[in-house]
């Protein structure tokens, strides 16, 4: 009942709308945002790979941390926005938030997968293995699975309001589930061993290293914002197109009734 616009206004003639104006999902705002992100990424890369010194313990593999942490932050922020959006869908029946939750969940999925790959690339030189049953690694893997489940629910073809409500209920549980999984895994591992990334990283963090890390996080967030806006607009257009097809189908059906020929369509 929410998303379908006034179906009584049939958009009859413009069945094949030829776009006028500019093409794509960009706008003045996103171009500025994109430029800021690109410059930021260039500076952050220079700081991380060139200007900062190698770590006393980890050597050059510390440079993986400078990309690992920002990507994790993006993944977590993405999940947060997805859950927030799902709450707003259930509360206000908001289409805007539904599109936001969907766009943000997809980016979170990509960055969570990247987090795992980067994490493994760091674990191999540091711990000598690709994977350890560390609480963070394990719960990040579960997070990826939860996000895949959410996106799978979103992909089920259904009427717009049906889909948004169904996805919202799964999405609301995303963050609580991540927290419960994380707590239980941490609790579980704490009985056995005590290796976490933070403990390995703690001793004497160099000023320049800290700056490379803390500079990269806001840069990653700007990049996230740029991606989110574009992905949002794409999802929005997909939804508009569906609504448009629906309006068309309604006016087709009316025309069919008016011409008095009812074909054996789906009941």
């Amino acid at each position: 009942m929410t998303s379908v616009p006034t179906a009584t206004a049939p958009s009859a003639p413009d069945t094949a709308p030829t776009a006028t104006g500019r093409i794509g999902t960009g706008s003045r705002g996103t171009r500025i945002l994109g430029l800021v992100a690109l410059v930021g990424i260039a500076v952050a890369t220079y700081l991380a790979l060139v200007s900062s010194p190698p770590d006393e313990n980890m050597g050059d593999s510390v440079r993986i941390i400078y990309i690992h942490v920002p990507i994790v932050v993006v993944a977590y922020v993405g999940c947060l926005i997805t859950t927030l959006g799902s709450v707003m869908v259930l509360w206000k029946k908001s289409v805007w938030w539904d599109v936001t939750a969907a766009a943000s969940a997809e980016i979170a999925m990509v960055t969570t997968a990247l987090t795992l790959v980067i994490g493994m690339a760091w674990a191999r030189p540091t711990w000598g293995v690709w994977w350890v049953w560390d609480a963070r690694l394990t719960s990040t893997a579960m997070l990826l699975l939860l996000l895949l489940g959410y996106l799978a629910v979103r992909r089920i073809p259904a009427e717009t309001s049906t889909r948004s409500r169904r996805a919202a209920i799964v999405g609301v549980l995303l963050l609580p589930n991540v927290i419960v999984v994380n707590r239980s895994v941490t609790w579980w591992r704490s009985l056995h061993q005590d290796t976490t990334i933070l403990n390995t990283l703690q001793p004497k963090i160099h000023d320049q290293m800290a700056f490379a890390l803390y500079f990269a996080i806001p840069v990653a967030l700007v990049m996230f914002a740029w991606l989110l806006v574009h992905r949002w607009r794409l999802a929005w257009m997909e939804q508009q197109l569906e609504d448009r097809e629906l309006d068309q189908a309604i006016s087709d059906r009316r025309a069919e009734a008016a011409s008095g020929r009812a074909e054996d369509g789906p009941r």
């Binding site: 179906a7 009734a257 009812a262 009941r267």
Partner: protein
């Protein structure tokens, strides 16, 4: 008097297909209305919409005083829908099924027993598992469930299908009795001869809109669809006949 069913430009979707593309319909209390139209015209969807199962995505829809755009849940227990599906649990006996749905609708056990009696399901048949029933017996059990729920609005989708002559008379009797005791009935049927005897008024639906409405004997039923009157407000509202 306020109509029991009041639809204006109501649009309902099946998936992404607009099965109802703007329906105008009024039904008064105690009426028996025959709904007719070709396959795919939207008869079943109209009945399911009136039952509060299919959402109305635009337009106005008020049934039994409940606005379907706002609230469909409170309407549903007051409506009885006899659809193509029997809504029976195969593993349970006839009596278990009727009693379960009757209790769910807060009808008394006596209502359940009476409904089974009226459809000839008392005695040996009531302890048979539904999976072992014939199609006609299932159909009767399904009708018994509906009667036992004591609905205010009866929505019957092809109620005569799969029934023998005797059972059809029983169904017709139940419908007349329900209408005379204040319930409202909408019947969708292909068996026009039988249904027209029952109904006080015929409504034709084509392509998801109401194409015509009139006293049962007046409507050119089996004629070419192209000769049907066009949908407009005036025809949809006229000629409301009450059945005694």
């Amino acid at each position: 008097m306020e109509p029991v069913v009041h639809l204006r430009s109501a649009v309902s979707l099946l998936g992404r297909f607009p099965a109802l593309a703007g329906v105008d319909l009024d039904v008064m209390a105690g009426e028996i209305v025959l709904l007719q139209g070709p396959n795919g015209a939207g008869k079943t969807t109209l009945l399911r919409t009136l039952a509060g199962l299919v959402p109305v995505v635009s337009g106005t829809a008020v049934v039994l005083g409940v606005d379907l755009c706002r609230d469909r849940r409170s309407l549903r227990p007051r409506v009885g829908l006899l659809g193509h599906a029997t809504m029976l649990y195969d593993e349970l006996t006839v009596a278990d099924n009727v009693r379960f749905w009757a209790r769910a609708a807060r009808s008394s056990r006596a209502d359940a027993e009476a409904a089974m009696g009226a459809l000839g399901l008392d005695g040996r048949l009531q302890d048979v598992v539904v999976a072992k029933l014939s199609t006609g017996q299932r159909r009767r059990a399904s009708i018994a469930v509906m009667v036992a729920r004591r609905p205010e609005l009866w929505l019957l989708d092809e109620p005569h299908a799969g029934l023998d002559g005797e059972a059809r008379d029983v169904v017709d009797g139940l419908v007349r009795h329900a209408a005379s005791s204040g319930a409202t009935v909408v019947v969708a049927s292909h068996e026009l001869d039988r249904a027209r005897h029952l109904a006080g008024r015929t409504v034709t639906i084509v392509g998801g809109v109401i194409a015509g409405s009139g006293a049962a004997p007046d409507v050119a039923v089996a004629a070419e669809p192209s000769t049907l009157p066009m949908a407009d407000e005036s025809t949809a509202k006229t000629e409301v006949h009450h059945v005694p």
